[in-house]
Symmetry: C2
Subunit: 496 residues, 2 copies
């Protein structure tokens, strides 16, 4: 399917290495297409695909495929899975090297009542200190940065230039539910073969933080499993299999208490340390080098205050110092309650004994844990403690992912950011999760990460935004971010 092999691969590297040092051509073309680039992102936001709500499938995949075709991708097809479809495409530029791209076209759930402008309208809003922003669900996670990458491709073609690398694109529509079928996309023989030609895989992101425009490069990400624990009288064989009058508690077992007691065994230390048996078995402590990176981050003036204010917190776990809290964030597995649902949830009370109770959890994983291991240990723990009847419904999960600091991907990232004059923080591991392990693990074992100037915030929260015209000269708007992608593609083509 991909022609970027054989004779073409034999071309001398110096051909590609003759990258332009002057980017005026790209800047001009990007600026010419500024409005078109914004419009593309807005159009994408208008059609939110949400796997948890079965919303806009396959419409979201169809629109994504169309955006890929318009940006020059060839052989664009939907990839059926047991869940929502993926989208695959490639660009054979006749270049010696091939870069992999990972996109997601789904977005997080949202409640319009919590937003100051309609989340699907993708309104352009002036935000003090930031500039003109697209406000909408998916603005920064990830349609804004992804649309910016597509803008870079449009600019290269519009300027009559040749892509410096071939591209392989894999996109999925289930990232927000833990990518349960992404493996089916990547492991399809033709797609796997295409990815094997890549030197690395990356995801466009808006990596800058105001006010200084600092970018953080993370050398990996935690893994995750997301799941529901469901306690029912029917499965337990105790208590009612439906809601009954609450006075009967005196003679009947309660599936809701059963769930509470099961939950209570999963954590220690005030809910802060996982107590699932054996869960720490493969946890690898931070290296001195990783600790040093975190100490540097902790030492940034004002960083702690900014973070606490943004999160609405007064203190960290156990009143830890910032450095210790960052170490914990990077190195510790967690058991988190995303939600609790049982019985009567409306206003006031209702005198019932519920027949069913549900806890929604996520477990974050660090090297060298795996998602399969965490699920197995959770189930074994529950069974051993007398809660084997509680259903463990895992909806998705990732292994942790890691990429070496001396890989071509990270070196290229540092080079482009460095030439842009932005300050770089290197962190050992993002606490958030993405399915990078699909690329960094067997059989591909590729470097995988994120790249992109620009800024946005509010992923998973109301009023998510992405800066398109920056009021801060240290932070790129959509045009500066698109330029960084043009530069990065050339860097990937030439880096030693």
């Amino acid at each position: 399917m991909m022609a970027a092999s054989g004779a073409l691969m034999a071309l001398p590297r110096t051909a590609a290495a003759a990258a332009p040092a002057n980017w005026d051509w790209a800047r001009r073309e990007i600026e010419k297409r500024h409005d078109e680039s914004i419009k593309r992102i807005q159009t994408w936001i208008h059609t939110p695909s949400i796997a948890a709500e079965n919303r806009n499938y396959p419409a979201g995949a169809e629109l994504t495929a169309e955006l890929f075709r318009e940006a020059g991708f060839q052989g664009v097809t939907q990839v059926p899975t047991d869940g929502k479809p993926g989208v695959f495409g490639y660009i054979d530029a006749g270049a010696p090297r091939t870069a992999g791209l990972y996109f997601m076209y789904d977005v997080k759930q949202f409640d319009p009542a919590e937003w100051s402008s309609p989340p699907l309208e993708a309104a352009l809003v002036d935000k003090p200190g930031l500039g003109k922003c697209i406000v909408g669900r998916g603005a920064v996670n990830q349609k804004g940065p992804e649309g910016t990458f597509l803008a870079a491709l449009h600019a290269i073609r519009g300027a009559g230039r040749k892509l410096p690398v071939n591209l392989v694109m894999v996109a999925e529509g289930e990232e927000e539910i833990g990518s349960p079928h992404f493996g089916q996309i990547v492991r399809r023989p033709d797609i796997l073969a295409a990815l094997k030609k890549c030197t690395s895989v990356y995801m466009p992101s808006a990596s800058q933080d105001p006010p200084n425009g600092t970018v953080e490069i993370t050398l990996g990400a935690k893994g995750i499993i997301e799941l529901e624990l469901v306690s029912t009288g029917a499965k337990w064989g105790r208590g009612p299999d439906k809601d009954v009058h609450s006075s009967l508690k005196a003679m009947l077992d309660s599936p809701a208490w059963h769930l509470v007691m099961a939950l209570n065994t999963l954590v220690a230390d005030g809910g802060n340390t996982p107590a699932i048996e054996g869960i720490f078995e493969h946890v690898r402590p931070l290296s001195d080098h990783e600790k040093a990176m975190l100490a540097k981050q902790a030492g940034e003036p004002g960083a702690e205050a900014v973070m606490k204010k943004a999160l609405g917190v007064k203190r960290f776990i156990n009143d830890l110092e910032f450095r210790q809290a960052l170490e914990r964030l990077a190195s510790q597995p967690t058991v988190n309650i995303e939600g609790l649902v049982a019985g009567y949830t409306g206003p006031g009370g209702k005198t019932i004994l519920p027949g069913r109770a549900v806890a929604k959890l996520d477990l974050r994983l660090v090297p060298n844990m795996t998602a399969a291991e965490a699920e197995a240990k959770l189930k074994a723990h529950l069974a051993k403690h007398g809660f084997g009847d509680i259903e463990v419904n895992v909806t998705g999960g990732y292994d942790p992912t890691e990429t070496a600091e001396d890989s071509s991907l990270i070196r290229a990232t540092k080079a482009v950011y460095g030439r842009a004059g932005v300050e770089i923080d290197v962190g050992p591991r993002s606490a958030g999760s993405w399915p990078g392990y699909i690329f960094t693990g067997d059989p591909l074992r590729l470097p995988a990460g994120h790249f992109g100037l620009g800024h946005g915030s509010g992923a998973h929260a109301p009023n998510e935004y992405y800066v398109v015209e920056s009021a801060n000269p240290k932070v790129a708007g959509i045009d500066g971010a698109a330029l960084s992608h043009v530069q990065f593609l050339h860097e990937l083509a030439t880096i030693k």
Copy 2:
């Protein structure tokens, strides 16, 4: 306000004791008014007052007042409270004795989607083995039985007969949220003075159980407090004060885990025994006589199987025998989870760490506990165990209530049921709760209970019903139940 005193009270008791032994006059008049009686209950059901939803106030009170006036009550007025209004009225029949009545005009919340006929339509539905039933919210709890009592009054007046007792009526519209302001109604000086003239207070009920038509007389009821436990980052001073990304669990405390751990301290024995410190201090064990009553109930052939089937359970707590389970039901305080609400409650998951978590609880109380004591001990327990920041929002509560088996009320109840030829079970205590303590406690210290033939079921559940034309000769329909009320009023007038 009430004239049933002075000279009238001095009339010889034998005058009232000359009660008719032949009830044909009442039966005829009741049957003549059969359709009108059904229509009255249906009309009442069409206007559901639900305090938790602030629905139909004062409309429900106005309608109730109108129904009282039509049935012959005098001086009918709404009684303002800090919550929903009560309704007061009386009938001065010039009789030597006065009986008190307790009505509620509110109903439990409902979800129409769960019903087989619209819950406010009060449709007449033929139920196999039962007969023609009104199906609707409030059908048995308590508009059906209360409407049947009003039908008895209409029949007495329609037949040109004189009421054998004076009546004092107190009704409230907040029973289903724990009667938080009922004390304000009963303790209003003129109402309290009227109640002080009563020999007892009762609530109409549909006390028969198919298939044998057995009635249960309970000599009291458990008390209750209903409350929300609310854990927030803001009050705790730890964790976020809003929902944040779940990856931050590694460095932030979780109000949801805080709640789970607090809940876990409230119970022992798999959730079945309250572990609130000192909660058993005033719990009075069952007497031998009470145990004997329960042993008799447990020994009824088929009773255990019928109950387990109705509740959808396979076994009782700790696999107790039926007799032991009934003893537990009558004698043990409970801590029940009515509902849990935290964070994301929709389909699938959402990677958040919620800033707020709520548990809805009810605690059932036995003699000699009080509602105020239970609330104070719960709060002290939480504070002592490090959960003093968790809000305890009590929405309502009752002390336990008890009435002596040799009181005139219970003896009259036994006498009327006995003459109707129905089998009588006497139980020490209902596990459900009603605000009888307002009458049995200080300052009134009156016998208080329930009376009425007839059958219905599904209080607090979908498809609540009340039998109006019984297919089972051992169970009264609405006419037989109305006749039992006519007979009971005469019995109260004459019992020694």
